[in-house]
């Protein structure tokens, strides 16, 4: 299966500061790829370069096998959904969606009936049936999002790029739109490239998850692979669900300021600098002194807890270093009461930790 999008060595710098460093990526036809990156990771820049709004300093972009470097944005057949929707304020919903069909360079439709048929079918598909006559100022944020989507989908692009499409929506709406996007993707089979800074969104949306860090791809894998086995400590940090300790490895143990933790199998026996990561939900809270031989453990003071619905997060303060978080899924654990400022033992199987050196 040929990749529908191929990026080779894309580099871009602004005023001497590199935003993208030799980034390479392949997106398969019909896939839903999400891209996670923090601010400054270059994710929006990358999207804009793919779309043709910016030129890369170096590298090549191939769509369906042919290079589009130097090709205008209007000739690439790549759709774009903007974070601020970028709807045409002087046109109705219908006119917005019909715009591409009416005025595009290749294959503009003249027959009003055909345009009407397609636009209304698309409005129905995104759940905006009957709202064609509304002005842009009269619809809600979620509806604007759908118009933006419909407007681009109706032109049948090879790929759709979504730049933080759910960023401007509230949490409830975001959940619903995530479901909608997946449904539309399944129905139409168009390739989606969805960029976001929100790790939950990135994990939930894609068949594949690309983690962008510092202008390059830090990991590209299925979401659960990334979640369970982040490729580096930095990726682990983006996922926002790992406790990360910085220190060194000596004699097969991780050491830092009085901490001494056993390393999982396969970790180096010695390293001057290393990161030790353990996921929030891998830790068990127990009474001090109850450590088992093949487990890692630290003692910490209980600080506070936070109830999130299906999970509770407990915050502990170890003697030095930042807070350690423990997450209990309420399907596996009963909620427990812990005494503030009391010391507890946080323990986990040594094999559950991830070490990067």
């Amino acid at each position: 299966m040929t990749a529908i999008l191929d990026l080779h060595g894309i580099s871009k710098a602004y005023a001497g500061k590199p935003a993208l460093r030799g980034l390479s990526l392949s997106v398969d036809r019909g896939a839903y790829v999400s891209m996670l990156g923090s601010s400054g990771s270059g994710k929006s820049t990358l999207l804009r370069i793919i779309a043709g709004f910016e030129r890369p300093d170096a590298g090549d972009i191939r769509v369906d096998g042919r290079s589009v470097l130097g090709v205008g944005a209007h000739e690439r057949g790549i759709g774009f959904v903007f974070q601020n929707f970028a709807l045409f304020p002087h046109m109705t919903v219908f006119e917005n969606v019909a715009f591409g069909l009416r005025h595009r360079v290749r294959g503009a439709l003249r027959a009003e009936q055909e345009i009407r048929r397609r636009v209304e079918a698309m409005l129905d598909m995104v759940g905006l049936g009957g709202l064609g006559g509304r002005a842009i100022g009269q619809i809600s944020g979620g509806q604007k999002q759908r118009v933006a989507l419909a407007r681009t989908l109706v032109t049948d692009p090879a790929i759709i790029l979504l730049d933080e499409p759910l960023g401007a929506l509230d949490a409830n709406l975001r959940e619903r739109m995530m479901v909608e996007l997946r449904r539309i993707h399944r129905q139409l089979g168009i390739t989606f490239l969805h960029v976001t800074g929100n790790e939950q969104e990135a994990l939930a949306m894609g068949d594949r998850l690309t983690v962008l860090d510092n202008g390059a791809v830090a990991q590209l894998a299925e979401p659960d692979a990334v979640y369970n086995r982040p490729a580096s400590a930095r990726v682990a940090r983006f996922l926002n669900c790992y406790n990360i300790f910085e220190g060194r490895i000596e004699d097969g143990r991780f050491r830092r300021d009085g901490l001494s933790l056993p390393c999982p199998k396969g970790a180096p026996r010695r390293a001057a600098e290393a990161s030790y990561c353990v996921r929030f939900d891998r830790i068990t809270i127990a009474e001090p002194g109850s450590a088992q031989p093949d487990e890692a453990a630290i003692t910490a003071r209980f600080v506070a807890s936070e109830y999130d619905g299906p999970t509770i997060t407990y915050f502990f303060a170890p003697p030095n270093g930042k807070a350690v978080e423990v997450e209990y899924h309420l399907s596996h654990h009963r909620p427990e009461e812990f005494a503030v400022d009391r010391e507890y033992l946080l323990r986990w199987p040594a094999e559950d930790a991830l070490v990067y050196a």
């Binding site: 709004f53 910016e54 209007h74 730049d163 929100n198």
Partner: protein
């Protein structure tokens, strides 16, 4: 997932350098920069042909030979020598300089307190804008009408004299008010003072009031605060205003002619009269001198404050 110290959720647009620099920098690249620049060509051509061309012509012609009613392209320094050896024309140069300086100082002295009031003492932005608009609006009416309007004000039977006599301040009309250099200066000050008030008020309105409060807390008196904080921060506005006023005043001729009864001659007047008698080369000399003068003034003013940095 958790709310402790992590800003990764739903981060909004991270366009980085682009959002800072706005349209000028991150402009959409559907067309190459070259194609975009083509759009500027007609405008550039117009300015080169109809602005640069004429200006260069002035310099060139200033070296031509002046016959009685025509000029010939034989190059000579005669007109230049004539200008600098003639009392009338040298005094016109001096008059221009003198009036420029006086009007500059006058617009500064008259306008600064107003700018101070508008920029520092009016906190409500809307009212600030309204008062500024009130001050600026007269500028947009016909310039000649504004010059003209001074005639009934300043004459011996004019409004000012009548008012002063009615109030008993004077017993006989002051006739130095009209048809003298003084009237020219009053007229020009009123017409151009707006250019001082605007930029200065703008700079003053940008001063962070907490600076002033902090200084006060440290025990500084009003005059000290003005001298060390307010005035220096307003300097870019003063320089901008000074440049505007200078350019306008140096190029003046209508106000000086009308309000002085043709007695006061500035370089602009020289140009007008010389052109009227078809003494082109001579007018061109005056024109070049005016340009040089202007260049020097602007360069000098720009030295006072590095405007680029401040604005």
């Amino acid at each position: 997932m958790n709310s402790l110290g992590n800003a990764n959720t739903g981060s909004i647009d991270e366009r980085g350098p682009m959002s800072e620099l706005g349209a000028a920098r991150g402009a959409p690249r559907a067309t190459t920069p070259f194609a975009a620049a083509l759009l500027a060509v007609p405008g550039i051509l117009w300015m080169v042909l109809f602005l640069l061309g004429p200006l260069l012509m002035i310099v060139y012609v200033s070296f031509w030979t002046q016959k009685t009613f025509t000029i010939e392209s034989t190059l000579t320094l005669k007109s230049w020598i004539f200008f600098f050896s003639s009392q009338t024309y040298l005094s016109a140069l001096l008059t221009t300089l003198r009036i420029w300086l006086i009007v500059l100082v006058a617009t500064f002295v008259v306008g600064y307190p107003v700018a101070l009031y508008i920029g520092l003492f009016i906190r409500n932005k809307t009212i600030q804008t309204i008062v500024l608009v009130i001050c600026v609006v007269p500028f947009w009416t016909s310039f000649l009408i504004r010059v003209l309007a001074w005639r009934p004000m300043l004459g011996t039977e004019g409004a000012v004299n009548l008012l002063l006599m009615k109030l008993g301040v004077i017993s006989a009309p002051i006739d130095v008010l009209l048809f003298t250099e003084f009237s020219v200066i009053i007229g020009m000050t009123q017409i151009y003072v707006v250019f001082m008030v605007g930029p200065i008020a703008f700079m003053l309105s940008r001063i962070d009031h907490s600076l002033i409060e902090a200084a006060r807390d440290l025990g500084a008196g009003t005059w000290r605060i003005f001298r060390t904080i307010i005035f220096p921060l307003s300097l870019p506005g003063v320089v901008t205003g000074a440049i505007f006023v200078s350019v306008m005043v140096l190029g003046e001729f209508a106000t000086s002619a009308e309000l002085s009864g043709r007695k006061v001659n500035m370089l602009g007047n020289i140009i007008v009269t010389q052109v009227g008698s078809l003494k082109w080369a001579f007018a061109a000399v005056a024109g070049v001198i005016l340009t040089v003068l202007m260049g020097l003034v602007i360069a000098g003013l720009l030295r006072v404050v590095n405007l680029r940095k401040e604005l």
